[in-house]
Amino acid sequence: MILFIAKRAAQAVLVMLVVALIAFALFRYVGDPINNMVGQDTTFEQRQELRQTLGLNDPFFVQFARFVGHAVQGDFGQSYQLRQPVSELIAQRFPATFELSMVSALMALVIGIPMGVYTALNRKSISSRLFMTLSLVGISLPTFLIGILLILFFGVILRWLPTFGRGEVVQIGWWSTGLLTKSGLESLIMPAITLAIFQMTLIVRLVRAEMLEVLRTDYVKFARARGLKPRTVNFTIALKNTLVPVMTIIGLQVGSIIAFAIITESVFQWPGMGLLFIQAIHQVDIPIMAAYLMLIALIFVIINLIVDILYVVVDPRLRVSGK
């Protein structure tokens, strides 16, 4: 186990190096940071000077090497725009994104999995067909549209929920949480729903598809033949077997919820990493982009590691290493 994790940690480092490499190759195409860093009165020469100072004229692998050199020491540089250490910025933003993602992931799972099971068990019933169809409407509308429609309805017309931001937050150490205040919770509702809808649809459909397969297996039949309670058969036996393949996607989804809450965050002006990142793209704030991408790489490596470990925890067949 320790060996396994050590191996994966080594791979993670490699992954992050490659991510950084690609990132630096890519930054050339995002635009020019200088223009956003200076006012219109700044002369051409001063711009060139600034470019030189920042090392933007260096070949990209020189920039890359410099970045890695610093990153190894835990220094991800300073935001061009905000003139603040990037690690500080990300630490400030992480809690917001994390809380939002976890709440919506939870929402997607708590609604998605039982719904998937239900629709698989009652494959032909009107209600499950209706649900399957309705769930599609949610995903065929773009996220930004869903967000705006929610704002329009609950924020502007009904005025039930705040339209933007995170509400009051409570500071616990470096972590800021919105889960402890009323306005924080209220602010969370709409973004979380917006973010969860897509994941939920996917989970419902996947669980249903896998569940249909598993329900036909002999061991489920045998479990029924032993008179086990339907709850045991459907959830303990069938659902668990369903989860092995579904786990992958759920893992990926949780990862991408964290990583790419970009649109939701910018629609609701949710002060998380996604907003920071989209802002950084607009401003070509290379240090932020680089650090963010590395963080996301790390998150995915960790999530995939967890998923791989979970496979083995859930599926004993994978524990054999005979071949």
């Binding site: 610093h70 905000l82 003139r83 603040q84 933007f164 002006q269």
Partner: protein
Amino acid sequence: EPFHYAFQGDVQSLDPMGLNETFTIGYLGNIYEGLTHYDKDMKIEPGLATDWKQTGPDTWRFNLRKNVKFHGGQDFTAEDVVFSWKRSLTEGSDFKGYGQKIKDIKVIDDHTIDITTPEPNPIFPREVVYLYIMDKGWAEEHNATKATSPKAGDDNSTYAAQHANGTGPFELVSRQPDVKSTLKRFDGYWDKDIPTNVTDVTFTPISQDATRTAALISGELDMAWPIPLQDWNRLENAKGVKILHAPDARTIFLGMDQFRDELLYSSVKGKNPLKDKKVREAMAHAIDLKVIDQKIMRGAAEPAGELIGPQINGFVKSLNTPYEYDPEKSKKLLEEAGYPDGFELGMDCPNNRYVNDALICQAVAGLLARVGIRIDLNAQPKSKYFAKVSPQSGNDTSFYLLGWTPSTFDAHNALFNLVATFDTEKNQGQFNYGHYSNPKIDELTDKIVSETDQAKRQEMITEAMTLLKDDVGYLPIHQQPLSWGVRDGVSVAQRADDVIDLRDVVIEKAK
């Protein structure tokens, strides 16, 4: 009274020498002050200087205000002015341009200084509005004597980018980039006569137009801008909010590549049709500014014929009549120029910089298509757009849209940056992406800069602008509108540079 407002972007840095960007310096103008100050009509009024006069062609005497305290309790003295000026010239500063307008400062006494300029400068008081004064002691204490550098690991701290200590009517309470910044009224502010009754100010950046508008309508904000033009109707009809609008000092215009022998993006090979004045004229007559105003800008813009607007010193009213819309004439001109079937032309356009920028470009493309000029539109976010069209990549464009507000509110700024021949040596024409060039205008521009006789100066500006218009060097489109949404019961002064000065915000007592 609390005041809660939102803009589409955030304050970029709290360092007053950090970024010379309208919103940021506008916001910091509530915390910091310069020697002079714009009033709500963009007229110069005393700031930290009580009065000033030109004592020689290149010397100005400023008398400084007494009994002014910084938020931290320090006294304001001439030392601070000298310090701030020097700081504006340090490496990380984006205000070198302003700093360089000063050659030297001689301290006469604690509250009197003599400033010399490198050359005679008739509009000098305008140049120091945004040279905000910091406290020397405070900066030294926090190792913030240099402007915050964008580069990490430099010995200067980032303290000044996250903290503020000015003399303005509001002091900083907290700031979280892109999330929220709060100010509170500074008790010790020297000017007890400012109209505002605001005590606590919360500022939130909200980047999405729709979200911002929604937050305003739902009552979560007292004020928000910019409000998308198409939402004006909605806001007018909504209870409790109103639209405040006026022409912006910014003029939007189209520029054309007039220096290459063959256009980069065109079907015409071997020659550059845009060098031909007839073609430029044809384009000018093909673009219906009225319909753009009516349909794209919902009637809120001011179609323009001149590169600068009425708010700008040097504006000539007679030149501001747009080129006449006459597609027939356009076609005829094109035919005369040898393009009876028109041609293809690539166009670059930002899509998140100006009000409805991409839409304007699309409309222009549509209008030009009707006379045979087929536009291939490349609309991009501003960071990519500017990277492409600016001199650093060799002005990689054939036809582009740009907007300009002269930061000094003086015509020379526009002539120098947009119209004068592109020349890196002299730093002129840096925004003249199409390299329009007229030696006569260059000559005039050089003279305007130091001409102190206002009447003569105006004459020269008028001449230069007339030459430009005759050449069809640019195709002005309009002055875009300022578009603020304000809650009923809140009164604000809408400045032509799109800055809200909290000194003028008055909130009616809660009903």
